[in-house]
């Protein structure tokens, strides 16, 4: 396939300007907690009818790319992930910023995001029609097995004690049960509050657990010692630091692209699994959660790889790979276009415009991110007394703006207070977030599988993909004890 002869498709001033504008809008909207790229695209959708169809779709795709990267900025600087996929970036990004390495974290986020994004786009343009069929192989039983594999990491996802991680995970799973049950239609733990019928919205919980609880932590510190302003904060990462993260970035890009292709899951789960795998294979395991640069690189490359991954079933099959791509498909409709197998056979020009639009978006936010890192990182130099009260306003607006509901604001405040106490008693927010993210999936896919299997639960073991994930789950749980046994056996000989 001659990819590069088509680059002229986007080389006119209007298209370039649109892509530039959309990417930067995406980054800024992505950075604001409570505003998501999907929401921005939905709001802009009616206005795109005045554009050429290919320009409109390219602009939306660019906004999507920029938005996914943008979430990392606030995650790193103020512990308020701008969007759910950036939650895992806060685990190590924010501790780095507190150590005076905000610039390094931001720089690493920008570079690893681009690597992840570009790898997934290359996969998109070369293998999309073939890979998209993976989506068909994943039915409820396969999602259940994937979710179980994800949950097997609960104990090890943060360096806090495994027992506390498991308790945190259970809290997350409990929160995920709130709302109407999918297969029975019975409402649980809603106490007659209409807003809770569709479950607890994830974003307010995220803002509460991370940013709001951080405000309380900061407020409980005495101002006896004036922290010295660290000018090293605006330093970018060195070449060696990039090199040391190379493996993690590549691994996460693969994970992100794969999970992105699955219609039911996307950036958030990719970033969590990418983060956990980076920790599993890293030499500096104990540094994770305390400001390890690999802990920023891994989730960022994974969640941006998931954007390209999510576009694969969207474009090749017309099945949205994520919430944002569902809105982009709405954009296809408005312009009377159709995604699906046709796009690849009959409208390659449109496909290439989208591809180049997204590729360009990646390079725009690389430049914007690296130049911006030096400016944004100064936020971490703002004295606490000024910074955190403004973050509080941000938290309120962010959780309200989502669906203009005060209930979301209360959820944010309650999660903030809970998060504060949980942190005081040595719990990490990571397993809680993981529990919430996977809770709904594990419950719904199990209920659906049981109907599909005619109530015979052993049918899970007749499905190859399920067996693969169950095997991985087994290995991830028992790898250490088995290894110890073998080592012991060798010594005895």
């Amino acid at each position: 396939m001659d990819i590069f002869s088509n680059i002229s498709l986007i080389l006119d001033a209007k298209t370039l300007a649109l892509i530039l504008g959309s990417t930067i809008t995406g980054v800024l909207i992505g950075a604001l907690p409570g505003l998501s790229s999907g929401m921005a695209i939905a709001l802009l959708l009616p206005f795109t009818i005045y554009l050429e169809p290919s320009q409109a779709i390219a602009a939306m795709a660019a906004l999507y790319c920029g938005g996914t990267f943008g979430g990392s900025i606030t995650a790193i600087l103020i512990n308020a992930p701008g969007a759910p996929p950036a939650a895992a970036t806060a685990f190590d990004g924010f501790p780095m910023a507190q150590k005076g390495q905000a610039g390094k974290a931001l720089g690493m986020a920008a570079v690893s995001s681009v690597v992840g994004g570009v790898i997934s786009l290359m996969v998109l343009i070369t293998f999309a029609p073939t890979l998209a069929r993976i989506a068909y192989k994943f039915g409820p039983p396969e999602y259940f097995a994937l979710a179980i594999f994800g949950l097997s990491m609960l104990a090890s996802i943060s360096s806090k004690s495994p027992v506390k991680n498991l308790i945190g995970g259970l809290i997350g799973l409990f929160v995920a049960t709130i709302g109407v049950h999918l297969t029975t239609g019975i409402s649980r733990f809603t106490f007659g509050v209409d807003e809770l019928f569709e479950g607890i919205s994830f974003v307010p919980v995220l803002i509460g657990l991370f940013a709001m609880s951080e405000i309380l932590v900061q407020a409980s510190k005495s101002e006896l010692f004036l922290e010295r302003i660290k000018f090293s904060a605006i330093k970018l990462p060195s070449i060696n630091e990039f090199k040391s993260c190379g493996k993690s970035i590549l691994r996460s890009s693969g994970i992100g692209t794969f999970i992105g292709i699955l219609p039911a899951e996307g950036g958030t789960v990719s970033a969590m699994i990418g983060y956990n795998e980076a920790r599993r294979w890293s030499k500096n395991k104990e540094n994770f959660g305390k400001g390890e640069i690999e802990g920023v690189a891994a989730p960022e490359s994974a969640n941006n790889a998931a954007t390209g991954g999510a576009m694969i079933p969207t474009l090749a099959l017309g099945i949205p790979g994520s919430a944002t791509t569902a809105v982009i498909l709405g954009g296809f409709q408005i312009h009377g276009l159709r995604a699906g197998p046709y796009l690849f056979e009959q409208q390659p020009d449109l496909l290439y415009t989208i591809f180049y639009g997204m590729l360009l978006a990646n390079f725009i936010f690389l430049i914007f991110g690296l130049m911006g890192a030096k400016i944004f990182s100064r936020i971490s130099l703002i004295p606490r007394g000024y910074l955190w009260p403004s973050v509080f306003v941000f938290c309120l607006v962010g959780s309200y703006g989502l669906s203009q509901s005060m209930v979301d604001v209360y959820i944010m405040l309650i999660s903030g207070v809970m998060g504060f106490f949980l942190r005081r008693y040595g719990f990490s927010p990571a397993p809680i977030i993981m529990g919430i993210v996977l809770g709904e999936l594990v419950e719904n896919s199990l209920a659906q599988s049981i109907i599909i299997f005619d109530q015979n639960i052993f049918m899970f073991f007749t499905r190859p993909i399920c067996l693969l994930f169950f095997g991985l789950t087994f290995l991830s749980l028992f790898y250490r004890p088995i290894k110890n046994l073998i080592m012991k056996g060798k010594k005895d000989e």
Binding site: L45, P46, D194, G318, F332, S403
Partner: protein, 325 residues
């Protein structure tokens, strides 16, 4: 000195504009001046979904027709009940419009909703999207009769969205009227249903045509029947259930309503504005892109009658299925 003059001038300008603004507020009460403030369209679904997108496409030209601004307020929660409660709290002056779907009507039919069927008046219908029964192209079921026969031996695994939705109820009514059995598998959305059908996880599904159109054209899915009174223009060879003697017609219909008690002159103006907007190519192209007919659009009288009949059927269906008292 110049600065002082400038600031006096600015103050003066401010006072004048705010006075003009107040003048506008005082005229709101007169119905003949409708619309006197921006029109609010209340939806029950998330941004970017079908209801949201339809409403946004509708408003593009409506703004021009009514020479007035219009915006969308999403009120999610409890299957549209949250949106209904919000609309109920607003004055009956035509400035608040509810985007209504079968979800709202089924919610009302279940009982204890903020509005009852007699609390509002239909203004215009925006889309009609019948439910189509799909199976995998490799499935042994070639006709709707094959499916019905198979269901008698072992319940058909039939996919649809949430319990209590139009997908669910239509599936149950189809099974009852055709004297067959289904095991309903609920999913979170149309995309997941479709992938499960192509991947052979489920045997049949009730989907809107658009949700499975790409896979139908690619030869991965087959359509057996349409749950409508008349065949769809896009599927001229597919029989309706009615032709087969099965009394089950269900569609995802969307439209707009206002509270009963709104001045007729305001309803007429709204209807005219909406209908004109939906005749415009902007909206027509959107319908076409979604695989829908231009006959989707209907005016106040027809739409109002239709809502009442859907409600009546939904109520009867829910009671007979034991899902409502």
């Amino acid at each position: 000195m110049i600065k002082k003059i400038q600031s006096i001038f600015l103050c003066f300008a401010l006072v004048v504009t705010s006075l003009v603004g107040m003048g506008q507020v005082t005229t709101v009460a007169i119905a003949a001046d409708f619309p006197s403030k921006p029109i609010e369209v209340v939806t029950h679904a998330g941004l970017g979904g079908g209801t949201d997108t339809t409403a946004r496409m509708l408003l593009i030209r409506t703004r021009k027709n009514l020479k007035n601004n219009a915006y969308i307020t999403p009120k999610k929660g409890d299957s549209g009940n949250k949106a209904m409660a919000y609309v109920k709290s607003k004055p009956k002056d035509g400035h608040t419009v509810l985007a209504i779907t079968p979800t709202h009507l089924f919610r009302m039919a279940r009982g204890e909703a903020a509005l009852t069927i007699d609390d509002f008046v239909g203004v215009a219908r925006t889309t009609v999207d019948p439910i189509v029964i799909f199976v995998n192209a490799k499935s042994p079921y070639k006709t709707i009769e094959d499916l019905i026969k198979a269901g008698n031996k072992k319940p058909i695994k039939y996919g649809g969205t949430n319990v209590g939705s139009v997908d669910h109820i239509s599936g149950l009514i189809f099974a009852r009227e055709a004297k067959t059995k289904i095991a309903f598998v609920p999913f979170e959305g149309g995309g997941a249903i479709m992938t499960s059908l192509v991947g052979n996880q489920i045997e049949a599904a009730g989907l809107n045509l658009d949700e499975g159109k790409d896979q139908l054209d690619a030869g991965e899915l087959r359509v057996l029947a349409v749950m409508a009174d008349q065949r769809m223009a896009a599927l001229p060879d597919t029989p309706t259930l009615k032709e087969k003697g099965i009394n089950a017609s269900f569609a995802t219909v969307r439209g707009v309503v206002v509270l009963k008690g709104t001045p007729q002159s305001a309803i007429d103006k709204l209807e005219k504005g909406f209908l004109k907007a939906m005749k415009h190519p902007v909206y027509q192209n959107y319908l076409q892109g979604a695989g829908l007919d231009s006959s989707s659009v209907a005016g106040s009288k027809a739409w109002d009658t239709e809502i009442k009949s859907i409600y009546k059927e939904a109520r009867a269906a829910l009671v007979s299925l034991g899902l409502a008292k």
